[in-house]
Amino acid sequence: MLRNPTNRTRTRRLVSAAAVTATALLLGACSGAANGGQPAAKDASITVAAGDITTKNFNPFSSTALQSTLGVIYEPLYWYNFAKQSDPTPVLATGYSWNAAGTELTIKLRHDVKWNDGQPFTAKDVAFTFNLVAKTPALNPSGLAATASAAADDTAVLTFKSKSLMQEPAVLANQAIVPEHIWKDIKDPTTNLNDNPVGTGPFKLKSFTPQSYVLTKNDQYWEAGKPTVKEVRYIPLQSADAASAALVAGKVDWASAYLPGIDNIMKSSKDLTYVNTPVMTTVIVTCANSGLGCAGPQTDPAVRKAINLAMNREQLAKLAGGGVAGVGSPTLLLPGRDDDWIADSGSAKLPQSASADEANKLLDAAGWTKGSDGVRTKAGKRLSLTIQTVTGWSDYILINDTLKQQLAAIGIELKPSQVSWNEWNAAQTNGKFQLSLDSVGLGASTNPYFTYNSKLATPNTAPVGKSASAGNQSRFSDPAVDAALTTAAGTTDAAVQKAEYGKIQAVIEDQLPYIPVYVNSMLTEFNTSRATGWPTKDNPYVLPAAWKAWDAGIVLKTITPAK
């Protein structure tokens, strides 16, 4: 589709300065194709396609910080891999233990770690970070309420007010540790842009402009021999079109974008490769709980079950998933990665074909009778549902359109609607919807507690009209589920947790507050001409999306310059 930039004669027709630069650029591009872009292959520099980088914000507490802040410049204590089930990887810590009551977390820290300004990293920095978070509500999105102290140079102790075992991932893997000697002098850590970031990560800031910034290797990095890539450049590419063109032109080495027809794009260059790591399940969120104000036929569990049964997921995955979607699980977990957490292995995977007969029977039994126009009615109400998604989300729009036909077969009328992201989000958080397509986001760790707690727990929901931004947008509420979550949160015993999750799984498979469709693809594209060692399908050592906090640091210190 796209050709290599070799046609140089054309530029002669251009005038003046443009021609001069054009030729220079084309020459650069030509040599780029020949020897891998950068002159010295030994300490290659690579380019990452980032989102918007207009503001120089390296504040690790800020939710709008540049994407390299977490993981590349600042590091957490531990790092969790979401691509596969594995033990936490120690980063700045080497071990941790809870006291019996689950109120005190003792963390052993790594020796010989230095901040990139040369100062040593100690337990004081860890204690300072957690105390800063605890005393500043605006920095504390996970509701951490721990006081921290440094018991020794390599030991930090966090004391919680109540049993807080489930705070573990937030403490260990979701908090960047900042240096006390810098941050103690920062007056307002919420609005500070931290334009000269001092971290422990494998890279440090070299130069910044709103259109590109460069990180350079941290020579004092604690892990011997890493990183080997010398420089990392971030450039803003906000659309998939731009990312695709830049990849083909060899301008970026690492991009995360859904590219339709990705196999054809990859074929255009031998250096390009990609990996698909589906981890987020696409679900139909139903406003299920009439007790909290939801209205519409979807509040009847029979209707939700019928939709689930009538769904031909094979067709949906082929048409809307582009052939790269994964098979989902009725437990909302990830088949494969989370098999150990699925109590009933029989329900690990979703049925892929439709069973319209069963769905029809179910609806008949529930009192929905077919009307003259083929749509069922009950007590004068038509079985007509509106499903919303965001304008421009072409795959989700396709799901809705396909589903409309699939559900028409069992007498359900589905009305797809497309709204702006704002409107979609507002409707969903405020409960002013019937059905809505969304995906289950990442939890704090791969422990199902975080998904279940956010999506199903009563404290995380709100009546219709109030914002349920904590995640339970279905307005689902079930005392048995709440009790199971409380029990699971109070233990570190995986077997006990699994038993509790089994109870929850039985409820949600029966109630279907969220009707899973498939596991959405997550495509990440790499160029192997300048660096190798990128994550692959067989070795998903990280969740390689360039926007994923923390994982980027692991990737950048693992890849090595191409020979």
Binding site: T64, P210, A245, L442, S469
Partner: protein, 329 residues
């Protein structure tokens, strides 16, 4: 003098009306910034009920006050030159983002508009002077190019000249790999080189209007009595063309030009989106997507000021170049 004062008073009222609308319209949009930020966070990691409190504390509870309180605060801030803090780029101030993106937009779209106007007027003058010549036949071509949807034309040119024959770069404001921004020659060259294709698309798609308007005005002015008089006096055709006909024919185009200069700031969103150009249009797009009231208001304010300013300038200039429009004083 009274003419001037009356004009100024009118512009003050127009400015106030624009500022008020500017305040109201973003608030009629669905959603609010806190929920938005939360939902974005939720896709990347865990969100708990306390997250909401944290974000509210972070952004300030500004968005919850009554509309009148917010309006008062808004006007007060404007007067003191404070455009507020952006939510999308939190905690960067809006003025910084506008200051950073505006030069790119003004440089690209402004220059392209001026070039398009000048070339269009000159071609239109020639076409009107020599009706039926090849230049006259150019008009259908240029109007056809203008009627093609702009985004499509831009994408097509980008595909052809950026990907198929890589004569021009694909995106960006300059070559981020090799030059450093500042007052140096390589940077200036790179900016010109990166701006050429976007500017070309704007010129190609807008030149038809100027040309057609100027040509038709030339034709109607040529049939005026004073042209016949001038010819009868024996003036040279050149003098008649530029001093008698073109000067009168260009007047409507000048007011059109002023309006389009005012919209330079606003009309750039599609161009900037297609070419990933780092201008104010990209910032506005992002602001709308994030319910970033402060940034939206800031950008709208700049647009309003630009349009009103351009109009005022032309109103004043018109009095000079066309004495007929001056009020009886």
């Amino acid at each position: 003098m009274r003419y001037l004062l009356r004009k100024l008073a009118f512009y003050v009222v127009a400015l106030w009306a624009a500022l008020t609308l500017n305040f109201l319209i973003p608030r009629l949009m669905p959603g609010n910034p806190v929920d938005l930020m939360l939902s974005k966070l939720a896709t990347k990691g865990p969100v708990t009920p306390t997250t909401r409190a944290a974000i509210e504390a972070l952004l300030g509870t500004d968005a919850n006050g009554s509309l009148w309180v917010q309006y008062g605060k808004y006007l007060h801030q404007l007067v003191s030159g404070d455009l507020g803090t952006s939510v999308a780029y939190f905690p960067a101030p809006v003025s910084q983002i506008i200051g950073q993106t505006l030069p790119w937009t003004v440089g690209l779209i402004g220059l392209a508009t001026v070039i398009s106007f000048l070339v269009g007027i000159l071609l239109g003058r020639a076409a009107g002077w020599r009706r039926g010549s090849w230049i006259d036949n150019l008009i259908p071509v240029t109007t056809m190019l203008q009627s093609v949807p702009y985004f499509w034309l831009a994408l097509l040119l980008l595909f052809l000249l950026g990907s198929t024959w890589p004569v021009f770069p694909l995106n960006g404001g300059y070559d981020v790999y090799s030059v450093t921004p500042g007052w140096n020659l390589p940077f200036a060259r790179s900016v010109v080189y990166h701006g050429t294709l976007p500017a070309l698309t704007i010129v190609v798609s807008s030149i038809g209007g100027w040309m057609l308007g100027m040509r038709n005005m030339m034709v109607s002015t040529l049939s005026e009595d004073f042209v016949v008089t001038a010819e009868a006096k024996g003036l040279t055709p050149r003098r008649i063309r530029s001093r008698y006909v073109a000067r009168n024919a260009v007047l409507p185009s000048i007011s059109g030009f002023a309006i389009s200069l005012g919209f330079v700031v606003a009309g750039s969103i599609v161009t900037e989106a297609v070419f990933s150009y780092p201008g104010i249009g990209s910032a506005l797009l992002l602001a709308v997507g994030n319910n970033d009231y402060a940034l939206m208001q800031g950008v709208f304010l700049i647009i309003t000021l630009a349009v009103l300013g351009a109009n005022l300038l032309v109103d004043l200039l018109y009095g000079v170049i066309d004495p007929r429009t001056r009020a009886r004083s």
